[in-house]
């Protein structure tokens, strides 16, 4: 019996000094960030859908090879990185330091591979097809703006995620961070994966050019 209960004071979960959601403050903070960031991406996706609907001649430039093949590969890479991340979190909770570091390194490798493949796709679009955020050869200028805006912000998140995981892995190795820090970084990584699960179908698969 706690001191407060002993003294007959009714303690509420909200009275302070407790964690009403049974998670620590870092994890709650990351969840709140994820919710706010998901609204940012939602706003961008809704804006993209709106301008697309408002332009009946919206271009469909993505041919099965190489654009859809590349973006499918990128999706598989991100999904696999989420698997290695969640296995890393599980290993961290078991106290298996070596496996945690191994899984985090694999997650970073997958994340870096995603960014590299995405960069090659951007290079092809910008250099070969002359697509910029303001113009493109297919007519509707907003195509470039929405495409680079959405995929660029996502690529920035992946890049930051790789750096974040590197910092957490180094800290976990040196005992500066514990399993809960690995779990919080995992939440961020899975969110980045989750966002791509909407960008991939809405931006790429809805704009497939089957004539190519």
């Amino acid at each position: 019996m706690s001191q407060a209960e002993h003294e007959g004071i009714i303690e509420s979960a909200w009275s302070g000094g407790r964690a009403p959601f049974a998670i620590n403050s870092n994890k709650l903070g990351m969840w709140l960030f994820i919710i706010s960031d998901s609204l940012t991406f939602s706003a961008l996706l809704v804006a993209y859908a709106y301008v697309r609907l408002a332009n009946p001649d919206w271009p469909r430039p993505f041919e099965i090879w190489p654009a859809i093949a590349k973006s499918t590969l990128m999706t598989l890479i991100l999904l696999s990185s989420s698997l290695t991340m969640v296995l890393g979190v599980a290993a961290a909770h078991r106290g298996d330091r070596a496996k945690t570091i191994k899984y985090l390194i694999w997650t970073m490798i997958f994340g870096a591979a995603f960014v590299v493949i995405h960069a090659t796709e951007w290079y092809t679009l910008m250099v070969t097809d002359h697509v910029t955020p303001w113009s493109n050869p297919w007519g509707v200028p907003l195509f470039g703006g929405t495409f680079f805006g959405l995929t660029g912000l996502h690529m920035l998140h992946v890049t930051i995620g790789v750096v974040y995981l590197a910092i957490v892995a180094a800290g976990f190795k040196s005992d500066k961070y514990d399993a809960s820090d690995v779990e919080v970084s995992g939440l961020y990584w899975h969110f980045v994966d989750l966002v791509w699960m909407f960008i991939f179908p809405l931006v790429y698969l809805m704009s497939v050019n089957l004539k190519g």
Binding site: R18, A19, P20, F21, A22, I23, N24, L28, W31, L32, I35, S38, L39, S42, A43, V46, A49, Y50, L53, A54, I64, I68, T72, T75, L76, L79, S80, S82, L83, M85, V86, L87, V89, A90, H93, D178, A179, S180, E183, G186, L187, H190, F191, D193, L194, M197, F198, F200, P201, L202, L205, M206, V208, L210
Partner: protein, 107 residues
């Protein structure tokens, strides 16, 4: 981290088999999405199926990889309904009248 916070973090985090199964389903749904891209479906039908599959994939990621299924119900109620409400408010732009910008000649 306090002893209390350390204690509340020692919950079940799932098994390797469970994570592998979730990963497999995510790959399968992705495969279905790509297959759909080969079919010449009408855009509204295609959009409905793709968004539906994406929502299922998002639910799997949030529930199992992000562990929300194993958290307290209060955390879910704090986070998800408010987010869904905000996204629904954004969709207000899709009421038929909102596309009148096209007819107004704004280029």
């Amino acid at each position: 981290m306090s002893a209390h916070e350390a204690a509340i973090e020692t919950h079940e985090v799932g098994s390797k088999k469970l994570f592998a199964i979730v990963w497999f389903w995510l790959l399968l749904f992705t495969g279905i999405e790509v297959f759909l891209a080969y079919l010449r479906l009408a855009p509204p039908l295609m959009l409905t199926i793709l968004v539906g599959l994406s929502l299922v994939k998002a639910a799997l990621i949030i529930s199992y990889f992000m562990h929300l299924r194993f958290e307290k119900l209060g955390l879910f109620l704090l986070l998800i309904p408010a987010m869904v409400f905000c996204i629904c408010m954004m969709l207000i732009m899709f009421f038929p009248d909102s596309l009148r910008v096209v007819d107004l000649g704004v280029k």
